[in-house]
Symmetry: C2
DNA sequence: CGGGCCACTGTTAGCGTTAACATCCCGGCG
DNA sequence: CGCCGGGATGTTAACGCTAACAGTGGCCCG
């Protein structure tokens, strides 16, 4: 019977012994330093392979001061956008040799944000990426004093802060122009929650495009990202249409609200694109299967992740990078069509 | 001018010096050991507060051998289920004082899974949780020999393995029985991809319920989770209905496919619940806003996360836990209704 | 032919923490 | 009144790694 002692994970010294070199030489091989004789390197690598050795990250982190881990704090990952941001980020981080430690906030309050960043820093991440779509969170972020770089993803805020995001304004302009090009006299807009920077940017883009086209700027309609709010606005709008108002085009700040609005209109016997043209934002995987397939604006999350990681790694090297916003793209499907011929409607 | 040396993060010894004790006493306070005089403890705690000291996790991990980090490998986080699983997991892990290191697979191949687990282990996680809905991934998982506990979340597989999941079979039975109770003679089923254990379980539950009710078991219809596949099946089915076949109830393995099917039927002038009753699975946030609002089955992801973390922590303590599957719940909305009166249809 | 440089390798000293052991002092009890 | 036990604290030694420095040859060049 073997004493069966705890099989203490192997260390560099074990590899060193096996290869007949010092542990430092093993370290050099592991870290790809030059000035190791090819024969030695080969011998060490073989020993590593045979033993199945893997360097201990804790020990390495202790001496180098870097864990090669990025922290990510996010909200409402059950929304498509934030979830995709996570995916894009993780891939980019992995490609850069970093791993991602994720924290998802229960609520987007200043306090929670602070705590989350704190926890991450305490945990030893090299930098933190934060997705703070809501003002309270974004605000909190600006007051966080960390020992590590912090970059903000997909959430505007104070200009001095390093932030990377998709160009929401451009996206909204794209959507609005598309509708205008189709001959609609103006475009109505259903917003996201007012405390969301992204939502406000979409409002800005929509207004700007309208003004430049010399089109009237109707009162925006308040939504909150949920299909329910889209539905509510939809009922309202449908009633107004029935009352004879000329409302022919709606741009909604996300696809989910578009879904709700479509449902409400449908209930009233009003359908897109015949009676109304509808554009969403996000390009949900479901969007092509709405009734009708939804014209929408797509954000490139993989690219977003790449730029975010790039920016944060630059800061780690002491450089200050201010990446351009990622351009979005318009996807035309069947929920938009030519404006109906004006009939001078009056019920 | 101060030399302005790198401000080396403070260590226990700094706190110790300030409080006039040894660093070991600080360690004892930090770790809540007994046998520290209240007065001393107070003094140390104050020093910690004043200095803003935080223990270095790398050093701690080095000596204790535990990073208090759980690894999570997942696929397709852009699907609602997996995304919610992540959320549930993170919250449960956090509540238990662990942080979550996430990896999202680009593809669910055996190789990728192995690599991901490997990466996580190499990174020093205390245990890994894996969400392997697809067989290739699940299969790979069973052959992974790790030095750390591995528990599988929301993915069946070999029985001997510790796994935690929602009871898919029960969920499918719930959906099927609901339709049967409504008077439908039988229920058709649109499946998920055949290499998904969850999808197969839903088929099993559906068949079982049908058989027990003495209802005919129609050929299942192949889908792949996407709205597109639901749409395709929907077109087929609608044609068959138009051809006079008695098809009045469909249970789909997820909500997205239900959306597609609903769209296809609608195109054919067939609407739920009048012409057809439809049940989905997942309860997407959008589901209440489908046309019509979708009856579906909800899984409790928070509970799932809790049990998964519980199980993995138990294994860390050397216990073997085999948690019960989490029970799902049926949500009745408006896409289901009483079976139409039989008319002996023949176009 | 000798000095010096360079490529290669080894030795030593931490990094900040916890564990194990040593020490001190006080009070209770024989 | 001295000894013993135990609570409170300090001291020392790892944990596994990298960085800095110290050797050791061989080769080139003067």
């Amino acid at each position: 019977m073997q004493p069966d002692t705890a099989p203490r994970a192997l260390a560099m010294s074990d590899v060193a012994a096996r290869a007949g070199v010092s542990h430092q030489t093993v370290s050099r091989v592991v870290n790809g330093h030059p000035n190791v004789a090819p024969a030695t390197r080969e011998r060490v690598e073989e020993a590593i392979r045979e033993l199945g050795y893997r360097p201990n990250t804790a020990a390495r982190a202790l001496v180098t001061g870097s864990t090669r881990t990025l922290g990510f704090v996010t909200v409402s990952i059950n929304q498509y956008g934030p979830a995709q941001t996570l995916v894009g980020l993780e891939q980019a981080a992995r490609a850069a040799g970093y791993s991602l430690s994720v924290t998802v906030l229960d609520e987007a309050t200043a306090d929670e944000v602070r705590q989350a960043v704190d926890r991450l820093v305490g945990q030893g991440v090299d930098a933190v990426l934060a997705q703070a779509t809501y003002d309270a969170a974004a605000e909190a972020l600006h007051h966080v004093r960390t020992t590590v770089p912090l970059v903000t993803v997909q959430s505007g805020g104070a200009v001095e802060d390093p932030a990377v995001g998709v160009d929401q304004i451009a996206g909204a302009r794209l959507a609005t122009r598309h509708l205008l090009d189709l001959g609609h006299r103006t475009v109505h807009h259903v917003t996201g929650p007012p405390d969301s920077k992204e939502a406000r940017d979409r409002v800005i883009g929509w207004q700007a495009e309208l003004r430049e086209a010399g089109a009237p700027v109707p009162q925006h309609l308040a939504g909150d990202w949920t299909p329910a709010s889209g539905y509510a606005v939809g009922r309202d709008l449908a009633a107004r249409v029935r009352g004879g108002e000329e409302i022919t085009a709606v741009f909604l700040a996300n696809d989910q609200m578009a879904l709700g609005l479509l449902a409400a209109f449908h209930e009233e016997g009003l359908d897109a694109p015949r009676d109304i043209s509808v554009v969403g934002f996000d390009d949900l995987p479901e969007a092509p299967f709405f009734t009708p397939p939804l014209t929408t604006v797509r954000q490139d999350f993989a690219e977003l992740g790449r730029r975010a990681v790039e920016t944060v790694l630059a800061r780690l090297r002491g450089q200050e990078l201010h990446p351009e916003p990622v351009p979005p793209a318009l996807l035309v499907r069947s929920s938009t069509g030519l404006a109906p011929v004006r009939t001078g409607a009056r019920a």
